[in-house]
């Protein structure tokens, strides 16, 4: 009969609908950090270099060519960004796939088989504790059976005054040792116990702190990097170097803390302070630009003849 297709379509119409991301799903997706928000952009570093090259700006200088404070800053920035990349790549993948299941204030993705960890399955579980407070876990378990164990745990708290997407304070932790304890291979991070990242994107500048706790027997038991990135292109990076830094006229290597600060024009300065040992407190101040270090001051020698350039002074007087 001719009416049968119409009835079929009518029945279909009453039941058939679907989609990928709901509005609530967007809230969960919005709570996940992305690499571009957290990365450091030291002029000449990998991420900043890409941006500046694209804008016709400076070429990236290879930090391996030098051992100065600027080169150490760029290397630290790249290392920092690499850590961000590795940790957030998995999280960002979640943003490309709609939730597998929805249950009130919980969204779950997976479980999915993993390519790099054969025999394991992975899932992501997000909970909304209140409209602005989220927690999430990346969990694995053996396909042969066993409990789910967390490898990454994170939390996000929306800034009540902030408007717009991803304006949050958040923290996430990579539990590398715990993963190994459950038999999960952790290639390339065998020396890591935990990696903690805390961040705030609600204000200007964006602040990110990365703290790595290393397994016993390493040269240090932990390493910390703190990054500030302002919307005007300026920024600051603070990090420590353990027994790798050599300073002119001082026997080394030294354990130092380095604070580097720059502006959008790629003018910058680095303050390197010996943190331990007989030269503790010795400070090296470098001013640099896109051509390299053009002014230095060492606390253990006489002051330079030329006065410190004003743009360098301005940067030193702009605290983050």
């Amino acid at each position: 009969m001719r009416t049968q297709p119409a009835l079929f379509l009518l029945a279909l119409g009453a039941s058939a609908c679907g989609g990928n991301w709901s509005n609530q799903d967007l809230e969960f997706a919005n709570a996940l950090p992305v690499r571009a928000d957290l990365e450091s952009r030291v002029p000449g570093s990998a991420s900043a270099g890409q941006r500046l090259e694209a804008a016709g700006g400076i070429q990236r200088r290879d930090p391996l060519l030098g051992d100065d404070t600027y080169a150490k800053t760029v290397a630290a920035s790249d290392g920092f960004n690499s850590g961000i990349d590795n940790l957030l790549a998995a999280i960002e993948a979640v943003r490309t796939i709609p939730p597998t299941s929805r249950d009130g204030d919980r969204r779950a993705w997976g479980p999915y088989p993993t390519k790099d960890q054969p025999g394991f399955e992975v899932r992501v579980v997000m909970d909304r504790l209140d409209p602005r407070d989220f927690e999430y876990r990346i969990e694995f378990h053996s396909q042969a059976g066993g409990q789910w164990f967390a490898v990454v745990v994170g939390s996000f708290l929306a800034d009540s005054d902030a408007a717009g997407a991803r304006k949050w304070s958040g923290a996430l932790t990579l539990l590398a040792r715990q993963a190994r304890d459950h038999g999960l291979p952790t290639p390339n991070i065998e020396a890591m116990d935990t990696l903690d990242i805390a961040y705030s994107t609600a204000g200007d500048p964006v602040y990110v702190a990365m703290d790595t706790v290393l397994m016993p027997g390493q040269v240090a038991n932990r390493a910390s990097v703190k990054s500030w990135r302002a919307s005007d292109g300026g920024g600051q990076l603070t990090f420590s170097l353990v027994d790798v830094m050599t300073l002119p006229d001082l026997a080394g290597p030294h354990t130092v803390t380095v604070t580097s600060r720059w502006n959008a024009s790629a003018d910058g300065f680095s303050e390197t302070k010996v943190a331990a040992g007989t030269n503790s407190g010795a400070t090296l101040t470098d001013c640099w630009n896109r051509d390299g270090i053009f002014w230095s001051s060492k606390s253990w020698t006489a002051a330079p003849v030329e006065p410190q350039p004003p743009e360098c002074v301005a940067l030193m007087n702009r605290p983050y």
Binding site: C17, G18, N20, W21, N30
Partner: protein
């Protein structure tokens, strides 16, 4: 069955809506317009009718006659038949004439449209009861039964029900009325009279000079036992019923006494039906009658003189055939005027176009018939027009109800009943453009099927929880519609149901948020009007109301209103 056909100048149109192949009757039950055997038979039959009239008028009546009427029209004839176009219109037209001119009180008439056989018999039974009661009170009674519709295999077809000829004849023969007149406008209805042959028609009302009242049964049929009854688009009815109605309105009053007798009406309808259908591919259609009336007297079917309203053709009006076209574009009546003779036609109040055909042109004008007044035709008010500018021609109902297609370009605005709108909601209101194709009369007369494709979009801002960002909304809508249309006028209303498949996306700038996608089947209602600009072009105003179910992570019941205008081309 009855078939739709149109022929005969000035309305000759080369199409038919009939599901039957062109039919050429093999019988010789009536005359044709050419001389020969049929012509001779026609003369014999006309002579028999005239003799009957003479005999009836020589007798007298015994008293006043109370009239009862059962009038039925059914366009549908069930399996093996195609729906007729004008059977119900014919019934309504006859019913109106009987009430206005035939002396039938409204409470003594029953009009049945698309009724079943049981309903017809029930109505007949009710009138029989009234007639019986009237006779018990000493009144003389007349029962008029009219049916327009399908007949096949020896039975009237009323939708899916049937009423065998023999049982109906038996019922009418025993009906408790002094005079019973039955008129059947159906294919092969001549089976009803074949056993009796052509006889004189009795009178509907006994005249004052009659000495003995007539009693008995008269049956008129629209076609012979092996003929189809044909319909005409521009007449807006069957040939037979149209001419019977024209005659009853006054044009059949050959005696000039202001009253139309059964024999006058029959002779008039017979002549014109045969003449009109003689050139059709289906062949000439010959009405028949059966006369089984005892006593004497003339039965007057309509008293035109009693009505004070109508149209008067003065004696000095030119002779010829005049066609009176009603507001719907159908020929309400025809008048054949002789030179020097006055003619009067009892039209119901309304505005009519008057058309007279000359060898090389048309004379066309308008006349207003007011209630209670007789309008006089003023020849000077008519104007000459070429045949090609005939103002009353146009697509006939056959053409309108034939299966055909139309294409349209649509522009619409879709307003979603979404809340809270301050947060950007789920589906923003948006403009859409697209194409639409309709197969008219796809599911039968006036029932059409449509397909449409619309695309559009809008921009908006999503404020949801901590998320606040702009977005671009896009929608693709594919729909199928079932429409009921009334295509006969220049303004074509339509209503229907639509099932749409809506695919909607919402994209956010950059990589800020993933794109949202949603699809759903959306049932809804549609209605509107199409304004015909020409034979092919039209513009349409349309509204749709749809239900929209959203159920990704929660069930939300939305709706949307879509207002559209379309430019259409009808193939």
């Amino acid at each position: 069955m009855r078939i739709g056909w149109f022929s005969r100048s000035p309305f000759t149109r080369p199409f038919t809506r009939s599901g039957s192949p062109p039919f050429t009757p093999s019988g010789v039950e009536g005359p044709s317009t050419s001389f020969g055997l049929n012509g001779i038979l026609r003369l014999v039959q006309a002579a028999a009718i005239a003799l009957a009239l003479f005999t009836a008028q020589s007798a007298g009546a015994e008293g006043p006659l109370r009239h009862f009427a059962v009038v039925a029209g059914n366009d549908r004839g069930g399996d093996g038949t195609r729906p007729l176009l004008y059977a119900k219109d014919d019934a309504k037209k006859l019913h109106d004439i009987l009430l206005r001119l035939g002396g039938v009180a409204p409470e003594d008439a029953s009009l049945l449209l698309d009724a079943s056989a049981d309903q017809l018999l029930t109505a007949l039974g009710e009138m029989e009861r009234k007639a019986r009661d009237a006779r018990l009170r000493g009144e003389r009674t007349a029962l008029f039964v009219y049916f327009s519709g399908h007949a096949k295999d020896g039975a009237l077809r009323l939708g899916d029900s049937q009423l065998p000829f023999e049982s109906l004849k038996s019922r009418l023969a025993q009906a408790p009325a002094d005079v019973r007149i039955a008129v059947f406008d159906s294919c092969r209805s001549g089976l009803l009279t074949r056993s009796k042959g052509a006889r004189k028609a009795p009178a509907f009302e006994i005249e004052s000079d009659a000495t003995r009242a007539a009693k008995g049964l008269v049956i008129l049929t629209s076609s012979a036992s092996d003929e189809d009854s044909q319909e005409s688009d521009l007449l807006g009815g069957s040939y037979f019923s149209h001419h019977l109605a024209s005659g009853l309105l006054g044009d059949a009053d050959r005696s000039g006494d202001g009253r139309v007798s059964l024999s006058e009406a029959y002779a008039y309808a017979y002549d014109r039906t045969v003449a009109d259908t003689a050139e059709s591919a289906a062949g000439a259609q010959h009405p028949t009658f059966s006369y089984e009336l005892a006593g004497n007297g003339d039965v007057v079917l309509t008293d035109v003189a009693r009505r004070t309203e109508g149209l008067l053709f003065p004696a000095d009006a030119p002779e010829g055939a005049y066609y009176l076209v009603d507001a719907r574009g159908f020929v309400a009546a025809e008048v054949v005027k002789s030179a020097g003779a006055e003619r009067r036609i009892a039209l119901s109040p309304g505005r009519y176009r008057v058309k007279r055909r000359l060898p090389d042109r048309l004379r066309v004008g308008e006349v207003e018939v007011a209630g209670g007044q007789v309008a006089v035709l003023d020849e000077a008010a008519l104007r000459d027009v070429a045949f090609s500018d005939d103002p009353v021609k146009g697509p006939g109902r056959s053409e309108l109800y034939a299966r055909h297609y139309s294409l349209a370009f649509a522009g619409s605005y879709q307003a979603v009943f979404d809340a809270p709108t301050t947060q950007g909601g789920y589906f923003p209101s948006s403009p859409l453009v697209g194409l639409e194709a309709v197969s008219h009369n796809f599911f039968g007369r006036g029932w059409s099927a449509g397909l449409d494709l619309l695309f559009g979009g809008a921009t908006g801002t999503l404020n949801y929880g901590p998320v606040s960002t702009g977005y671009r909304f896009s929608e693709l809508s594919l729909g199928a519609s079932l429409l009921a249309e009334w295509p006969e006028g220049w303004l074509v209303p339509f209503v229907g149901a639509r099932l749409g498949m809506n695919v909607m996306t919402r994209d956010f700038p950059g990589t800020l948020l993933p794109s949202q996608g949603f699809y759903t089947f959306s049932p809804g209602l549609v209605g509107g009007f199409k304004l015909r600009l020409s034979r092919h072009w039209g513009i349409t105003g349309r509204a749709r109301v749809h239900y929209l179910l959203y159920n990704i992570d929660e069930t939300r019941n939305f709706g949307y209103l879509e207002l559209a205008s379309l430019l259409s081309y009808e193939l």
